[in-house]
C-alpha cells in the first residue's frame, strides 16, 4: 500500500499533520512535488476552464500521482469549527477526482463534518488495529496543525498579503509577488501571523461569514489594517468566496484610506504583468509615506 498525497489545496494547511500521522502509523506515502508548469499544464486538461486555479493545480497533482501510488488520500472537508463551510469546490473536488482517477487508485476520502479528530481516528483504526497507537499518532501530529512556514516580519513598511494558504505557500503562484514586494523594501505580513483566537473571532462582519478560511482572511484583514501601509489580495479568477469578501474588504480599506490591490490570477497570468502592477502599487505607497513624513517634519 502506498498512499499518494497531492501537494495542493488543503495540503498547505494539513499536510504536516498528515505526514506525521501516516508516519506514526507506518503507512508508506508519497507526496507530489511542488507545483511546476508541467503539473499545471496537465491539470487544466481535467476541468472546465472557468474553475479557479487551485482546483486546476490539484488536478495536475493527481495526474502526477496516478501511476505512483495505490491509494489516493483526499479527505472531503465539508464543515469545520461547528458549521463553517469550506467551499463548494473543496467539497466537489473529491468527486472530480473520482470521475477521472478511480481506475488508477483507490480513493480514501473520509468526510470531515465538524469532526476532524474522529474522522482521522476512524481512518487510523482501518490502518492499524491498535486504538492507542492511533490516538498517539493523532496527538503527535496535532502540533503540526498550526505550523506554517511564517514569512519573517522585520522592519517597516508593511504589506498585508491576503490570500488562501494554497496560493501563498504554493511558491509557483506566489513567488513573483512576494519577491517583488521584498525587492521594493516591504515586509510581508500574512494571516498566519495572527493567533488562532483572533483568526476565528466572530466580531463585526466576520460573524456573517460562514466560510471558514474566508472568515480567517477577513479577521486578519480587520486586525492588521491599521498596522500596515497597504493590502494586497490575491484572488483566483472564478473564486466565489473571494469575489464577495474581497469586495467587503475593499470597501473597508477605502473608508480607512488604505491602498488595496486586488491581483486576479489564473493559469494565463504572466509574472511580468503582476510585477509591473505591484511596482506601481508600491510607488503609490511610498509616495504617501514620503508625504506623511514631510508633513510630520513641517
Amino acid at each position: 500500500m502506498k498512499v499518494g498525497i497531492p501537494r495542493a489545496l488543503l495540503y498547505y494547511r494539513y499536510g504536516e499533520f498528515w505526514k506525521s500521522f501516516f508516519k506514526c502509523l507506518n503507512v508508506d506515502f508519497i507526496i507530489s512535488p511542488p507545483t511546476n508548469k508541467k503539473i499545471l499544464d496537465q491539470g487544466v486538461k481535467y476541468v472546465s476552464s472557468e474553475v479557479c486555479l487551485p482546483v486546476k493545480i490539484i488536478c495536475g497533482h493527481l495526474d502526477w500521482l496516478k501511476n505512483k501510488a495505490t491509494h489516493l488520500f483526499l479527505p472531503r472537508f465539508v464543515e469545520l469549527n461547528n458549521g463553517l463551510y469550506t467551499c463548494p469546490k473543496m467539497i466537489g473536488i473529491v468527486d472530480i477526482a473520482r470521475f477521472h482517477f478511480q481506475n488508477y487508485f483507490q480513493i480514501i476520502s473520509p468526510k470531515i463534518k465538524n469532526n476532524f479528530y474522529w474522522t482521522h481516528f476512524k481512518l487510523g483504526l482501518k490502518l492499524t488495529k491498535n486504538p492507542l497507537k492511533v490516538k498517539n499518532a493523532i496527538d503527535n501530529a496535532q502540533k503540526y496543525l498550526n505550523s506554517y512556514p511564517k514569512l519573517k516580519a522585520n522592519g517597516a513598511p508593511k504589506i498585508l498579503l491576503l490570500s488562501h494558504f494554497y496560493n501563498i505557500y504554493d511558491y509557483y503562484i506566489s513567488q513573483p509577488i512576494i519577491e517583488t514586494f521584498k525587492n521594493q523594501g516591504f515586509t510581508i505580513i500574512t494571516k498566519e501571523h495572527l493567533d488562532n483566537k483572533r483568526l476565528n473571532s466572530t466580531k463585526g462582519f466576520a460573524k456573517n461569514i460562514r466560510w471558514v478560511y474566508e472568515r480567517e482572511l477577513y479577521n486578519a484583514f480587520y486586525y492588521f489594517l491599521p498596522q500596515v501601509q497597504g493590502v494586497c489580495n490575491i484572488i483566483s479568477f472564478g473564486c466565489g468566496p473571494d469575489s464577495l469578501i474581497s469586495e467587503v474588504m475593499l470597501n473597508e480599506a477605502h473608508i480607512q484610506n488604505k491602498p488595496f490591490l486586488q491581483l486576479i490570477i489564473d493559469e494565463h497570468t504572466s509574472a511580468t504583468g503582476l510585477i509591473t502592477r505591484i511596482e506601481a502599487f508600491c510607488e503609490i505607497i511610498k509616495k504617501r509615506l514620503d508625504n506623511n513624513v514631510s508633513s510630520i517634519i513641517l
Binding site: D95, I96, N208, D242
Partner: protein
C-alpha cells in the same frame, strides 16, 4: 408601502399576489432589459456571478419607479447567494438612502412566519401563513401553466405565443384557492385543442442554477427558443418546487438526491445536487438530450458540470453546458442551441 423584489419569470405573478395579500402594494419597476443588466454590472463587483448583477439592476430600477421597501432572499450556506444582500444593501444605500432593505432568510421558517414578515408588513403571523399557503397554490398553478406552454410551444409554436397572454390574464385574475382550481381547468381548455401530439418530437431536459432557469431575461428566453426549434423542454425546477423544498414538503427531492449520489457524494451547495440528480433521472428516462445552464463561474454548477460530463459518457446522452454572463451574445447562444438540437435529432431519428 411600495414593495419590490426581483423578478422571477412567470412566478413573479405569484410573488406579487403574495405581497398584495399582506396588504402592501408591489412596485417592481419596468421589465428587465439590457439597461437593467448594464446598471447592475456598473455597480457590482467585477467577479460576482450574474444573478447578483441582474437583481441589483432590478432593484435600482424599482427604486427609480418609486419602491420604498426592497425584499431579497438570503440565508448563507456554502454558496455566494446568501451573501448577496450584504453587498447589495450597501450599494443600494449609496444610490438611494430613503428605502428599507430587508434580507429574508430562506432557511428559518419560524422567524419568517412569526417575526420577520409580521414585522415588515405589520400583519399577524396567521395572515403570513395563509398568504404563504396561497402562494404555494398560485405557484403550483404557474408550474402547471409552464408545463402546458412548453408542450404547446413544441408542437405549435405560433399558436402558443398567441394563447400565452390570454392564459396569463387568467392567472393574474385568480384570487382564492377555489379560483386556482377553476383556472387550471380553463388553462387546459385553452391549450389542449392546440396541442397536436401526432408528430414525433425530441425532448430536452433543462437543468441548472435556479435563477437562470426561472427568469427568461437571464437565460435569453431559452425555453421559448427551444420551443421555436420544435423541442419539448422538460424541467423540474420552479418556484413551486423550491417552496415545497424549503417547507420540506417535496418528496421528489429525495429521489433527486439519491439519483445524484452516484456522481456527487455530498452537496457542494447551491443547486448542484438537483442539477445532477435531475439530469440522471432524465438520462434514465431516455430523454433525448440535456441542456445545463448556469452563471459563469457559478461554483456549485462548475462541480455539477464535471459530473454531467461523466454522466454524458456513462449514458451516451448529448449534454450542452452553457455558462452565461453579461457578455454572452444571444446570436452565439442561438447558434449553439441550433447545432445541439441538430445533433440530438440526428442521434434520435437515425436509428
Amino acid at each position: 408601502m411600495k414593495v419590490a423584489f426581483p423578478y422571477l419569470g412567470y412566478d413573479t405573478i405569484a410573488l406579487k399576489k403574495f405581497v398584495e395579500l399582506l396588504g402592501a402594494e408591489s412596485c417592481l419597476g419596468p421589465p428587465l432589459t439590457a439597461r437593467t443588466l448594464s446598471l447592475g454590472t456598473k455597480y457590482s463587483p467585477e467577479l460576482i456571478c450574474l444573478p447578483f448583477k441582474i437583481t441589483l439592476g432590478n432593484f435600482i430600477e424599482a427604486l427609480e419607479a418609486g419602491a420604498d421597501t426592497l425584499l431579497m432572499a438570503a440565508g448563507a450556506r456554502k454558496c455566494r447567494f446568501g451573501y448577496y444582500h450584504y453587498l447589495q444593501e450597501n450599494i443600494l444605500k449609496k444610490i438611494d438612502n430613503r428605502h428599507c432593505f430587508y434580507a429574508i432568510s430562506q432557511y428559518t421558517p419560524y422567524e419568517f412566519f412569526f417575526k420577520k414578515m409580521p414585522q415588515i408588513f405589520g400583519v399577524t403571523p396567521q395572515k403570513v401563513i395563509y398568504a404563504t399557503w396561497l402562494l404555494l397554490h398560485y405557484s403550483a398553478l404557474i408550474d402547471y401553466f409552464r408545463k402546458l406552454i412548453r408542450l404547446t410551444r413544441a408542437y405549435n409554436f405560433y399558436d402558443a405565443q398567441k394563447k400565452e397572454l390570454e392564459a396569463l390574464r387568467i392567472i393574474e385574475n385568480v384570487s382564492s384557492f377555489k379560483e386556482v382550481q377553476k383556472a387550471k381547468k380553463e388553462l387546459r381548455k385553452i391549450f389542449s385543442p392546440i396541442i397536436n401530439t401526432s408528430n414525433e418530437i425530441i425532448r430536452i431536459g433543462l437543468v441548472g442554477e435556479i435563477y437562470l432557469m426561472l427568469e427568461p431575461f437571464a437565460n435569453y428566453e431559452i425555453e421559448k427558443e427551444l420551443g421555436k426549434l420544435g423541442v419539448l423542454v422538460v424541467s423540474k425546477r420552479s418556484l413551486y418546487r423550491h417552496l415545497k423544498h424549503l417547507l420540506k414538503l417535496d418528496l421528489f427531492d429525495l429521489r433527486t438526491i439519491s439519483n445524484a449520489y452516484k456522481y456527487l457524494k455530498d452537496s457542494p451547495g447551491g443547486e448542484a445536487i438537483k442539477t445532477v440528480g435531475e439530469a440522471h433521472i432524465f438520462a434514465k428516462k431516455n430523454i433525448d438530450g440535456i441542456i445545463h445552464i448556469y452563471p459563469f463561474t457559478c461554483m456549485p454548477e462548475n462541480i455539477a458540470y464535471e459530473a454531467l460530463q461523466k454522466l454524458a459518457r456513462d449514458y451516451e446522452i448529448p449534454i450542452l453546458s452553457i455558462s452565461i454572463d453579461e457578455h454572452t451574445s444571444k446570436t452565439g447562444l442561438l447558434t449553439r442551441l441550433e447545432a445541439f438540437v441538430e445533433v440530438v435529432k440526428r442521434k434520435k431519428f437515425k436509428g
